[in-house]
Amino acid sequence: MRTTLSFRLIGFYATVATLTVFLTLWVGSSLIWRQMIETADLILGNESEELALLLNDVDLPRSAEAVRYAVEDHSQLDAGIIYFQIDTPCGEALFRSENLGGDLLPEPGGAERTYDGALSFRLSGQKTPGGMPVRVGQYEIGEFRCRLGTSLDTQLDARNQVRRLALASIPAVFGISLLVGYALSWVMLRPLRAIQETAQRITGANLRERIVVPESSDEISRLARLLNDTFDRLEKAFEQVRRFAGDCSHELKTPLTVVRLQTEKVLEGDVLPAEERAALEEALGEMGRLEKVIQRLLLLAQTEAEALPLNRKETSTADFLRNFAEDAEVLAEEGGRRFELAGDADARVSFDASWIRQVLFNLLTNAIKYSPPGGRILLRAEVVGNEWRVEMEDEGDGVAEGELETMFERFNKVGAGQGKQPGTGLGLAVCKGIVEQHGGNIRALAKSTDRGFRVVWTLPLEG
């Protein structure tokens, strides 16, 4: 959950934050630039009015001398801001302010505008031939064509600085917002993590625990409440299974004991006629079967609720299987079959040896029952990836494809009606329950041409 949800959130957050900062700076710089241009235009406009007043007083004939006389003082006064360039309408130079230093103001490119109905002018940002960025306005004042310019050097500098800052902000803001986002999601998702941790702790053996519902009434506290409700129902269901097991034990097993003890007692003296004796012995046999069914149903109820107490110990799989093989060979030989153990892959696996051995015994008993006399029963064990994989295979007829799924269900009699002695129909279901409670899984494989019935189960390795 953390890897996906919070990383997605952080990534999203950081991207949005970075884009926002970058765009704000970039757009801001453009807005400021426009503002500065407007200011420059205003200054130029004011200047043109002042210049118009001065030029009105120029003596005739309009010589360069006369113009200089009229405007030089003024141009020197404004030399810090304004460049002056006055020509005749045909382009003859009349006056150049000193601060131009020989440079020229270029012709502005903008559209012609009129100002106060009297002056028409054009404005644009340009570079002088000398490479200086200027805002230039060209005003027609009487018989003069005046170009006024103001330097945009500092303004351009300021704008470029802001833009550089915008670019530089991309990695910086991205990095910072990753950190902030991580911290934020760590804090925000803490209740979720608490929920996750609690939920993981809650197992069959520990159903009392509940998630602590946060004070706030937000999504997370609603989720916590919802989960707690689910745990309540789960606990109730568990309790029912446990109570059923308890009731079953007490209500069935104790009377069954009485019946058994009494039947044994009657049989004890050897005084009964043969017929009655046989009947009672059969009853005892059926009682034994009934006991076995009760035992297995209880076991199933427990494994289904994952409430079978397991005495897990870390065990060497090779040692365990060699130990089992000793018994398996004896049992197979007794049943007229051959048992072989293949594969000596060793791993440390934590499991309850008596229950897992019972799984193997159940499978072996089936295999002996359904394989032909002299047939080979092969137990193959290997370590595949993170699993201990054990496979038992016989040379029997196998089962139809359609039955593979259902064989592990209760009261399923595989190969029923083949004239073999009936089992309880619970053996494979018990195997499944035991393996699954160990965190493994079990399945039957279809018969291929050279193989009989195969059952494969796996248990996870340590860690």
Partner: protein, 222 residues
């Protein structure tokens, strides 16, 4: 030998009491925890047969009291709960044995008997009975004059039979001792091993073996 039976099912309790009395044990039946406490502190018992689900409480509490006191009575838990969990906690609390319902009387009797003789024979290094001699140190087994080769399981089984020589041991007891398995293994493994042992321990002249079958119960040595 005095035995206290704590069992709330009257029929079952009386049946066990009668059965034990027929075997010449003195047995007293009580049906709840209160009765058990009263009887236990008024008299001295060698064995307590204790049911766990009692109308006025958990038998395990009584077990704690018994083990907390200075009595050295042996306790056999008799439980319908039959859980591994209950077995473990029962044995941890100091019970000497644990028998799941339903059981056969012979099973109970075998366990009561083995409790009364639990402490003998356990420290010997050589077991010797009915012509079978087993050296626990060298792991050498002889029958009569001939040396016998045994597999690991056969050896363990014979050792258990010899240690309980003269007494009936049930299949469940054997599977607990040899396979550490507290439920029915649902195989005929034990019978098969007994047959193999018998084949190896056959007297030449009449073909009999010192291992006896006790029908419906188990086996005994000699």
């Amino acid at each position: 030998m005095k035995i206290l039976i704590v069992e709330d099912n009257r029929k079952l309790g009386q049946f066990v009491r009668k059965g034990l009395e027929e075997q010449a044990y003195a047995a007293l039946l009580v049906e709840n925890l209160a009765g058990a406490r009263e009887a236990f502190y008024a008299d001295e018992f060698d064995v307590v047969v204790l049911d766990l689900s009692l109308p006025d409480g958990d038998g395990l509490d009584f077990l704690k009291e018994v083990r907390g006191g200075d009595s050295d009575a042996s306790v056999i838990i008799l439980s319908a709960r039959g859980d591994v969990e209950d077995r473990i906690s029962g044995l941890n609390l100091g019970a000497d044995d644990y028998l799941s319902k339903p059981f056969s009387f012979a099973e109970l009797l075998a366990r009561v008997r083995s409790l009364t003789r639990r402490h003998d024979r356990n420290r010997k290094t050589v077991l010797d009975h009915a012509g079978v001699r087993m050296d626990l140190v060298t792991r050498e087994v002889t029958f009569g004059d001939s040396k016998i080769e045994l597999t690991q399981r056969e050896y363990a089984l014979l050792e258990y039979l010899l240690k309980n020589a003269g007494r009936v041991v049930t299949r469940t007891q054997i599977s607990e001792a040899i396979w550490d398995c507290h439920f029915d293994m649902e195989t005929n493994l034990i019978d098969v091993y007994i047959r193999k042992l018998r084949a190896k321990l056959k007297s030449g002249d009449d073909g009999t073996s010192p291992i006896r079958t006790v029908r419906g119960v188990g086996y005994s040595m000699g």
